[in-house]
Symmetry: C2
Subunit: 200 residues, 2 copies
DNA sequence: CCTCAGGTACCGACCGGTCGGTATGCTCAT
DNA sequence: ATGAGCATACCGACCGGTCGGTACCTGAGG
């Protein structure tokens, strides 16, 4: 039947993600990847220049999706609380459906060479700054409490999500959206302005 | 396995931690470790049975310290909010002063063999359960909000700390205790009993 | 219709280098 | 002299990457 272009390279990436997540990048041999993908080394090196390229490809697609989600949500122009909620739920959802990618990403990003590390840092910084700007503006407008610096709040929120692969189980009792809501609740509680009649 | 702790074996572990944190466990050769520690392979294999033993030694000492702190704090028998605050500040402090150990730990724990993985999971579970029990009892007593499950709250709190090595810089503007306080503030805000009519 | 040139996708045996681990022996302190 | 504490030389397995080759498709020329 008409095989779609990229079917093979996608099988390779898929196998690589699974193995890297389970055993780590260095502990996984190229041979294991091609065996799991039912191809040979020739095929892998036909599509990818190196084992590192394979790793980078995994990051690229994950970061790309997350950045697109973030931009879309912020552009929607809701109020700060709603925006933060949407960001977190969306982030938890994509993280949950890409646990392996995220686990690999969190554990092995330090393996990137200088160039790629720089481009990765730039992307992450942009994500961080965009998120922080939302929180900061809401703090200035009095919509959020300023008790905790915007920076710290964002660091906490993103830290939680990055750590998610270590404990999230797809067959657990909570759906990703439910989890996202819970986490959003928690973060928003920390940002809720104290009301005049509330004693500290 | 490590025998008596002497100056040499400590130098070896110290060098290993630094290198593992900087380059990753697999990417670091034992030759690099012994060079950095100014000893030879003979010395390393005199004290440690394998490269993996070295890794495990790093975990053991870190987990040991953290469990001891936790037990001490809980045993002090303060009220829930104070206990949670102490736990988090103490955890952030030891994590900050052992950033390398924590980074290695978070990134490479999956490399443990079955036995050690089991013993590690047991320790972590005990930490988690102890922490959760504090939160849960306070929720039942009405001291904390039950809006978010105790489980999730603990997962968030520990997630933040585990992620800390990726962004914490010892030469940054905030001291570890200050950071610990900020994080504790944030977590406690999420656990503060809600007032009527609050809407997200 | 057939042929052949050229391009893409893939195969798999092989290589150079590396790395964890070991064998052996020396040197002190006890 | 005996064992702890190390040094040095070395090994065998393994791994990322290569490279000559194959199979198939496409399309132009005959």
């Amino acid at each position: 039947m008409a095989r779609r272009t990229g079917a093979t390279s996608e099988r390779i990436v898929g196998a690589a993600v699974r193995l890297f997540a389970a055993k780590g990048f260095d502990a996984t041999t190229v041979q294991e990847v091609v065996d799991a993908a039912s191809v040979t080394k020739g095929a892998l090196y036909h599509y990818f220049g190196s084992k590192d390229d394979l790793l980078f490809e995994i990051y690229r697609s994950l970061i790309g999706r997350q950045m697109a989600d973030l931009d879309r949500i912020v552009a929607a122009g809701h109020d700060a609380a709603t925006t933060v909620r949407h960001i977190l739920v969306s982030l938890v959802e994509t993280t949950a459906e890409s646990v392996d990618e995220t686990a690999v990403f969190v554990r092995e990003m330090h393996r990137l060479d200088a160039d790629r590390m720089a481009s990765f840092r730039a992307e992450r910084r942009r994500y961080h700054e965009t998120f922080r700007a939302v929180v900061e503006q809401a703090q200035e407008a009095g919509e959020f409490s300023s008790a905790v610096p915007a920076d710290t709040a964002v660091l906490i929120a993103l830290g939680v999500v990055n750590q998610l692969p270590t404990w999230y189980r797809p067959d657990g009792p909570k759906s990703p959206s439910r989890l996202g809501e819970e986490i959003a609740d928690f973060i928003l509680a920390g940002l809720r302005p104290e009301r005049p009649d509330v004693r500290a």
